[in-house]
Amino acid sequence: MRLLCSLCCLLFLSLPGLAVEVVVHSSVSETQLTTAQLRAIFSMRQTRWADGQAIQVLVLPSETTQHNLFTRNYLKMFPYQLDAIWHRQRFSGIGGTPVQYATVQELQAALERTPGAIGYLPQGWRSAELKVVTLYEK
């Protein structure tokens, strides 16, 4: 049963337009990050890339399929956990919140024009101005 569920999940994630990949603006030199590092970035705790450039976190609304896939597969979190972290930071003054875009098209355009940006897009939406980030474990 567990194998069947895993296969279904893999099939679901491999469907065009349903799987997402993490992308950064071409000005960012990092193309490999760990889950912990992605969590620090999307939790808005880490605010600078290794070269000192400011990190700009861009996302879709929490209820979208792409955001859901991203938080589960890359951050190993549920969307409500990330929302709670952002709310805590926003209302206790200790951190910023990401810039949110309503559609994938708007998000892609913002990622392409924002130096230091990081976000996610459906697989196959990458462009020359963006680099794909792969996950690695130390």
Binding site: A36, A40, Q46, G52, F78, Y80, H87, F91, S92, G93
Partner: protein, 390 residues
């Protein structure tokens, strides 16, 4: 509003932050919430036990990026919670945030000014209606009478995160004090006091650990604080000193639909003087809660908590209080809460809850109990609140 040492700390912090470069656009956020509440047979909301609309919370905050590593953040709130805390506006926090370490595996920030308490699971967001799990939090840990003292203090604090292959470590430390006005003194001590209560210091530290791949977080937090009281002319109380020390274990477990949280604490309360010159007493209380939340689809959540507190672990049911002429139910407080919340639209939430309570150990005032209104051992409180945030 709180004021002690605040200006000096903020000036020092501002000096540290120089030189200031062109600031980025400040972020603005806020919330407004209005509700109804009723607590029969107790002074939890008001002395009459009648339906009350004193459940108003309004807040606005902002955060400015001053330089690459320095930010300024502040929040002002207006509260009207009946007897739960003094009505009016207050500066919740206003601090300079200095980013000391900002690397891939370690982030450390220093806060100077009026910082927020980051040491308990809900301490940093208890004042924001939609970020706390219930309208009235478990009183064993989040005693409303101490709300203004526990939310934040004037001083310095640090907060750090370490990301490791084995998991993530959050560490916090803070040292400061909160000034206490006459209205707060009367809630804490007795309506008869007219003198000046002062918090000398509050020193706190905490660590939280989330193992890699786990949805559980484990924490421990420690608190040490001293107060003194200088009586006014013609009042029945004497000069007194109070020391509170708290050790607490925190646990949180988050699944897709279920969320569980628990905090267990031991709190030592030592009083010298106050009631009479030469009076001395030290006692340790025990308390804690288990809180569960279940998320249904479409923004509907069910929430429940079990809360327990005894003010003296050597007299758990308060039987020794009779010697002082105080009913036993002032020695403890335990409760069951059931509630629902529903997200009626984006950034709008309606929340309702009912508490069944046994004991009056966490009603105000803290040191001189209200024997007139709080005569009933068993009492109930319900609350309904509509909240909006941006």
């Amino acid at each position: 509003m709180k004021s002690n040492n605040f200006g000096a700390v903020l000036t020092l912090a501002a000096t540290l932050s120089l030189p200031v470069v062109a600031a980025e656009q400040p972020e603005w956020h806020g919330f407004i919430a209005q509700g109804l509440a009723q607590a029969s047979d107790s002074n939890a909301i008001n002395d009459s036990g009648k339906l009350s609309a004193k459940l108003t919370e309004i807040g606005i905050n902002s955060r400015w990026q001053l330089t690459e590593r320095v930010r300024l953040a502040g929040q002002v709130v207006y509260l009207n919670g009946g007897n739960r805390y003094p009505e009016g506006a207050r500066l919740d926090y206003l601090f300079v945030d200095l980013s000391v370490i900002d690397t891939f595996d370690h982030q450390l920030n220093l806060y100077a000014g009026r910082y927020k308490n980051q040491h308990w699971l809900f301490s940093s967001t208890r004042d924001v209606p939609f970020t706390r799990p219930s309208i009235i939090l478990p009183q064993s840990v989040y005693y409303d009478t101490f709300r203004d003292i526990a939310v934040g203090s004037d001083g310095i604090a640090i907060k750090g995160f370490l990301q490791h292959d084995l998991g993530e470590l959050e560490y916090n430390w803070s040292y400061g004090a909160t000034s206490i006005n006459t209205e707060q003194s009367q809630l804490l001590l007795s309506p008869q006091v007219s003198g000046k209560a002062r918090q000398k210091y509050v020193h706190q530290a905490s660590v939280f650990w989330q193992p890699a791949g786990s949805q559980a977080t484990y924490g421990i937090s420690l608190l040490d604080s001293e107060f003194n009281y200088r009586p006014g002319a013609a009042e029945p109380f004497s000069y007194g000193e109070v020391r509170i020390q708290r050790a607490m274990l925190n646990w949180r477990y988050q699944l897709e639909n279920w969320e569980l949280a628990a905090e267990l604490m031991q709190e030592r309360l030592a009083i010298d003087g106050f009631y009479l010159p030469g009076f001395s007493r030290s006692q340790s209380g025990l308390g804690g809660y288990l809180l569960a939340k279940y998320r249904f689809n479409q923004g509907l959540s069910f929430i429940s908590s079990l809360d327990y507190l005894t003010r003296d672990k050597d007299d758990k049911r308060g039987s020794q209080l009779a010697i002082q002429g105080i009913p036993a139910h002032f020695g403890y407080q335990q409760s069951l809460m059931l509630g629902l919340s529903y997200d009626v639209a984006a950034n709008w939430r309606l929340q309702a809850e009912h508490h069944w309570v046994d004991g009056t150990g966490r009603l105000s005032p803290s040191l001189v109990p209200d024997l007139v209104v709080n005569q009933q051992r068993y009492w109930q409180v319900w609350a309904l609140q509509l909240m909006y945030w941006f």
